[in-house]
């Protein structure tokens, strides 16, 4: 294992201290409660936006705390959802009287821990709503199963809902907006390697050279199936087909395209993939109107990428363009 870390058991803490040191004007790390909160709390009356999840997916969510996105984030251990205490603390920190929206990725651990936190918060004078993100089409959404995972749509919901909260939208409006964005977004990921969790010290699985995993998530686990290596063009074709056949956007629709790297794939490859994806989307008459390309939702040092497509409406587009100032997404101010 070759990593720039100290004690493997301290990676998350060391990272959070470093993050806070690097962005003192945006966020701080409450080491006691293990939450990341804005340095300058939002103005009273703004709905608080909170998200959390296992660490290892950086910059998600801590890197999205700041004006125009999250008010607080609660990071768990590597690939381990945060515990209810953290979620409660983050929620209280984010509340300024107008209620708090929990953005939850549909993973058993996350759902259960946010559920327990909600039970604890029921005794407080504080309204919570929930948006559950489940955009991953690699997972078949069969009744009785855990259902689809939350992937790239998380970022889009956080950005769009964050912007709406900043302009003063109320909790119920934000909840339905978040659900609307999630409903119009789909993702599909491909892994070109496993990743190495610091405590484990070796890759989670072995991926023989010349093979890739289709339909991966964000915790380094294998995907839906293993196939022989594909070219960028072929990977794009699989992703576009999976995502579009499920989402079925209206003909000619404006879409937002997110090409998300898993952590160890160079930016140049993400752009190669974007080029192929855009060509295929245009062939199908969709119009990429907004894009985000980079490492936003990663799986430590895994190589690979995921496509997320969001069918935009005017409202979402406007909110996407609104100013945002977080460590990892910043524009307009």
């Amino acid at each position: 294992m070759q990593k720039i870390i100290n004690d493997p058991a301290d990676v998350v803490t060391d990272y959070l201290h470093g993050l806070a040191a690097a962005h003192p004007d945006i966020l701080r790390f409450d080491a006691e409660q293990r939450i990341v909160v804005r340095t300058h709390p939002a103005k009273p009356g703004k709905v608080g936006i909170v998200a959390g999840g296992g660490s290892g997916c950086e910059p998600l969510h801590n890197g999205f705390v700041g004006r125009g996105m999250l008010d607080a984030a609660c990071p768990g251990e590597i690939f381990t959802s945060p515990n209810p205490d953290q979620i409660v603390a983050a929620t209280k920190a984010a509340d300024s009287g107008a209620g708090v929206l929990h953005i939850i990725k549909n993973f058993s651990g996350e759902v259960m821990n946010f559920g327990m936190a909600a039970e604890l918060l029921a005794f407080e004078d504080l309204t919570i709503e929930t948006v559950l993100i489940n955009d991953d089409v690699a997972v078949k959404d069969v009744p009785g199963t855990a259902g689809r995972r939350g992937l790239g749509a998380t970022i889009l919901v956080e950005k769009i809902v964050g912007a709406a909260a900043e302009r003063g939208d109320r909790l119920d409006a934000l909840t339905s907006l978040g659900r609307r964005v999630n409903a119009r977004a789909r993702s599909f990921g491909v892994g070109l390697s496993s990743c190495t969790p610091p405590l484990r010290g070796r890759p989670i699985f072995e991926l023989p050279d010349g093979t890739i995993e289709l339909g991966i998530g964000i915790s380094g686990e294998p995907g839906r199936e293993r196939v022989p290596m594909l070219t960028a063009r072929e990977i794009a074709a699989v992703m576009v087909e999976e995502v579009i056949s499920d989402l079925q956007p209206a003909g000619g629709a404006n879409i937002l395209v997110l090409i998300n790297g898993m952590g160890a794939t160079p930016l140049s490859e993400l752009y190669v993939l974007y080029g192929e994806v855009e060509a295929l989307l245009r062939e199908r008459s969709f119009r990429p109107a907004r894009r985000l390309i980079g490492n936003y939702l990663t799986s430590l040092d895994q190589a690979g990428a995921a496509l997320t497509v969001l069918e935009l409406d005017e409202e979402m587009t406007k909110l996407w363009d609104a100013p945002v100032s977080t460590p990892s997404i910043r524009w307009g101010e």
Binding site: S81, M116, E221
Partner: protein, 219 residues
């Protein structure tokens, strides 16, 4: 009929509960790599590490005074697991011990029936928390048959020790039954058919924990 053998059965004190969870800590340590490996075939390879972190916290906590009644110990264990494990297993095992605590009420000692009710409450807690059923390839596949076996043994009038032994055995059979299942809950569910052929990590740890119960709560 249950009454007939009740005098032979010891009861479960706070001390015994503490012994149980310390034994859990020991067997989790012992099976750390095994549990991680089981989780790696279809999850994120951390189930053993997660539980170890939690039970290490429990061990520290119980090093001092465990408490005067079973519920006190069980509640401490549950809270510690919830807050030090996180993830699915923190929520699930946390719920398991918290519901046992709730069911144990103010009793200083749990008799065979009370323990059975506590286990049943724990199992119900898991189904609620995890939205899980038998056959989903989770720790519930060890727990559900174990609780059933315990209650059958109890209604047959068998001793606490015996009942716990049946429970542990049923849990191990339950664990083995997960090998051929396709996961429908947890991270493994995302892999679909690829999960067949390996026992579920959580079902394996649950079997260890119930075996530890048989070894510590009974005698």
């Amino acid at each position: 009929m249950a009454e007939a053998t009740i005098n032979e059965s010891p009861t479960v004190s706070a001390r015994k509960v503490a012994d149980w969870v310390l034994e859990c800590a020991r067997v989790i340590d012992e099976n750390l790599e095994h549990l991680n490996e089981l989780d790696s075939t279809c999850g994120d390879a951390d189930h053993g590490s997660n539980l170890r972190r939690g039970f290490a916290g429990v061990r520290t906590l119980l090093g001092s005074e465990p408490g005067d009644k079973p519920a006190t110990v069980l509640k401490k264990v549950g809270t510690t697991l919830v807050s030090q494990v996180g993830g699915s297993s923190g929520a699930l095992y946390g719920t398991f011990f918290l519901r046992m605590a709730l069911a144990s009420g103010q009793d200083k000692e749990l008799d065979r029936a009370a323990l059975g009710e506590a286990l049943q409450a724990a199992a119900r807690g898991i189904t609620e928390r995890g939205q899980v059923q038998v056959g989903d390839k989770t720790l519930y596949d060890s727990l559900a048959p174990a609780v059933e076996a315990y209650s059958n043994a109890q209604s047959e009038g068998r001793s606490l020790t015996d009942s716990l032994q049946s429970a542990a055995k049923a849990a191990e059979e339950g664990r083995d039954s997960t090998v051929n299942m396709t996961a429908r809950k947890g991270r493994a569910s995302y892999l679909g058919g690829r999960t067949v052929g390996h026992a579920d990590a959580g079902a394996t740890s649950m079997a260890l924990i119930l075996r530890a119960a048989a070894e510590t709560l009974g005698p």
